[in-house]
């Protein structure tokens, strides 16, 4: 309202200096666009009047490459989409192809998949928390988060030899048995982690600057979330209790008890609280899972050459950033006819414009952080 008045005054009063929109080009090289995102901000002073996202700087054509690779060869490529949550990407892809082949991974493999995926969810949220806090100007949480993430990456490294792009799972199950002391490592991490989360909470949750910077910033209500297709913590922070781990249980999630944290306002603070609580829940899932890992095979009945029957399949999982879907069309050859990926970051990024309008430049940074995008996944 106040602005409408101001604009009128500017137009009617010729004695005032003429003003113009300032177009600020943020990125693709910018400390807090989380990769190579480019946002053109239309500014009035520091007030954002509109945005235009330019993406594609990290486009590698994963979907096209997949058409020229065998099913097994595609798996490492999907690891490189959301590179801070490679295990989750792999899980989604492997399960989609398993659905296409109509085989199931053996119980032992499924439980180990759950453990590794939940650890990956914690690691992904830790990267989010550290960088988000850094964007808002808190330097220290980043290093605490990286310290804990290191423990998770060490578990991955011991398990499959890789830390970041793990390629941990295979179509039909797992390639590697869990190493000796796997349960102990996971348990030690989980028991220690509760105390660590408390450290972040102490630094941020009650901090009045943090609350001031996040509360009522980038509000996205439930209806908008659904209209835009936003999923994951963004949707849950708006109060919608939708988590595929509960709604359409995959892997072995139906065996474990956990809560789906939800927020009320759908602002940046709620998204922060939701993700913090999700880390706690993931920790609980890991603790439940290592209690009884079933014995048995780790690989289902899958041939050396994967040749699914002609047809199509869509499978989606709850990745750390939201719903990650794979749509695969098979023409009964060894290579997929078409792979289409529904990346959560790409779709959540659509909400940026709606969230930042009317906020200040500083909030744009906070909102990009709270969306938790990974440009590798946005551009694929």
């Amino acid at each position: 309202m106040g602005n409408a008045l101001q604009d009128d005054a500017l137009q009617n009063n010729s004695t005032l200096l003429g003003t113009d929109e300032l177009v600020l080009n943020m990125g693709p090289q910018h400390p807090s666009t989380h990769g190579v995102l480019r946002v053109k901000l239309k500014l009035d002073g520091e007030r954002v009047r509109g945005t235009e996202c330019v993406i594609g700087y990290l486009h590698r054509g994963v979907e096209k490459i997949a058409e020229n690779r065998t099913y097994q060869q595609v798996a490492p490529y999907v690891d490189r989409m959301d590179y801070v949550a490679a295990v989750s990407n792999g899980l989604g892809y492997c399960e989609a192809v398993e659905k296409l082949l109509n085989v199931e991974a053996p119980p032992r493999a499924r439980v180990i998949r759950v453990i590794l995926t939940e650890l990956q969810r914690i690691a992904s949220h830790l990267v989010w928390l550290g960088t988000h806090a850094l964007d808002i100007g808190a330097l220290t949480p980043l290093f605490y988060c990286m310290r804990e993430r290191e423990e998770i990456l060490k578990i991955f490294e011991k398990y499959c030899g890789a830390r970041l792009t793990t390629h941990a799972f295979r179509i039909g199950g797992l390639q590697y048995e869990s190493y000796d002391g796997f349960e102990k490592d996971v348990e030690r991490f989980c028991l220690d982690f509760e105390r660590r989360i408390q450290e972040y909470v102490d630094l941020l949750t009650g901090n009045s600057i943090w609350i001031g910077r996040t509360r009522n910033v980038g509000v996205l209500n439930a209806a908008d979330c659904i209209a835009l297709g936003a999923s994951g913590p963004i949707l849950r922070a708006a109060g919608v209790k939708w988590d595929l781990r509960k709604a359409q249980p995959y892997a072995a999630y139906d065996q474990y008890k956990f809560e789906i944290p939800v927020g009320t306002n759908g602002d940046t603070y709620d998204r922060y609280m939701v993700r913090i609580e999700e880390m706690r829940q993931s920790r609980l899932i890991c603790l439940q899972a290592i209690e009884k890992i079933p014995e048995g095979a780790i690989m289902g009945k899958v041939g050396k050459v994967i040749k699914p029957p002609a047809g199509e399949v869509y499978h989606s999982i709850e990745a750390p950033k939201g719903i990650l879907g794979y749509y695969i069309v098979s023409d009964a050859s060894t290579q997929p006819y078409r792979v289409r990926i529904r990346p959560p970051s790409f779709i959540n990024l659509q909400a940026l414009d709606k969230m930042v309008r009317g906020h200040l430049v500083a909030d744009v940074v906070a909102i990009i952080g709270t969306l938790d995008i990974v440009l590798g996944e946005v551009d694929r």
């Binding site: 309202m1 106040g2 602005n3 101001q6 300032l22 177009v23 600020l24 080009n25 910018h30 400390p31 807090s32 002073g45 520091e46 007030r47 806090a133 850094l134 964007d135 808002i136 100007g137 808190a138 330097l139 220290t140 980043l142 290093f143 605490y144 310290r147 630094l203 941020l204 901090n207 600057i209 943090w210 001031g212 910077r213 009522n216 009317g358 906020h359 200040l360 430049v361 500083a362 909030d363 744009v364 940074v365």
Partner: protein
Amino acid sequence: MNPTLHAVLDFLQTWWAELTCGVVIVAVVPLVAGYLVLMERKLMADMQARLGPMRVGPHGLLQPIADAVKLLIKEDIIPGESDKLIFWLAPVISMTAALTSMGAIAFGPSFQVARDINIGILFVLGVSSLGFLGIILGGWASNSHYSIIGALRSTAQLVSYETAGGLAIISGLLLSGTLSISGIVTAQQTQRVWFIFLAPVGFFIYLVASIAETNRAPFDLPEAESELVAGYMTEYSGFRWALYFLGEYANMIVVGSVATTLFLGGWLRPFPNVRWLNWLDVLPALIIALIGVYSVYRAGKQPVKIQTQFMWGVALACFAVALIYAVPWFVGPLKFVIPGLNGAFWFLLKVAAYIYVFMWVRFTLPRYRFDQLMHLGWYILIPLAIVNVFAVGVAMLIAANTNWNHAVVLLLATIVTTIATLVCAVFLVSWHDRRTESASTASLARDSYAG
């Protein structure tokens, strides 16, 4: 004799002390600033569970020198579309202002870098706020959007926080009754109390305002890295950038010195009037010698020979300084330098503690948003500062006209001030919130530059 030469000699004869001091400032302060950066990085590393610089010299002790060399030999880039003269001039203004204001600061009794100006505090404040001119001009001359936003933020921040800081200083000046820097310290000696205990609210406001004035987190909006890349410094690189950086750290020393002088007893040791604590005067020499002993101890543990040698060098330097501190105790005619040396030690210790708080705050707190910064400045700090000045004045009047204890009255006044201002602040904030809410569309309507 040649008249020109004669004039030069005459000039030197009158001003040799000031000239020497000027040269010393220009030579020493950049080095100190460099080591402040190292201190900051080490402290940050300590609080963030990592080691910080470790490569150049033992425990990274030579890092500042390596950084300076790197910055000096970098390519000098001036953006094509910039206003070249102002672009060149701006960092120089920033640094000159910071270094010049250092001139009036008293590091010890009769150990003032320049001479004891009777408006010393005003001089320091005036000259050091000129540094903002460098920031604003630099941001404008760069001809870059990030720079100009940083410069605009800096302007608004300066206006808001210089006001609060200035008012906070007034409470100290009221207590001392003088603007002269050495006079303020002497007043704290004769009144037998540091002014921080008489006007804690004033000190607190000055602390917050000085963080904002030096553009440091959580008020580092002009150069907010995650938002504006580097704010007004975005287009600067190499040595010009180093000048800005130097100016910023030199400015930290200046505000630290002002706070120390006004509120923390300047060069006075703790309890300067208590006879039986006179042994504290030996502490400076002792502490420096102990640092030397520790360096010797660490020297044996260095992995590389050159680092061992370097640690020995540090130890020797410490012993040399300790010797300088110790000798006058035993040599009668030199006794007069003891207060000066000890004064410098205590002064620098207090300044370092003050700067430590700056750094500590930086690692702990997230950054304010622009409207929140203005809100804090205009709705809380400035009213608080005004009420504080008023309360200190009233308390002094009461103390002067009754025979109640001076300090007790002032403390009472402080408590009353704090409560009264907090009530005011809460009222103002809620009024402000109501006003903005009634303007509906919440944050959309607020114009942060209007305060």
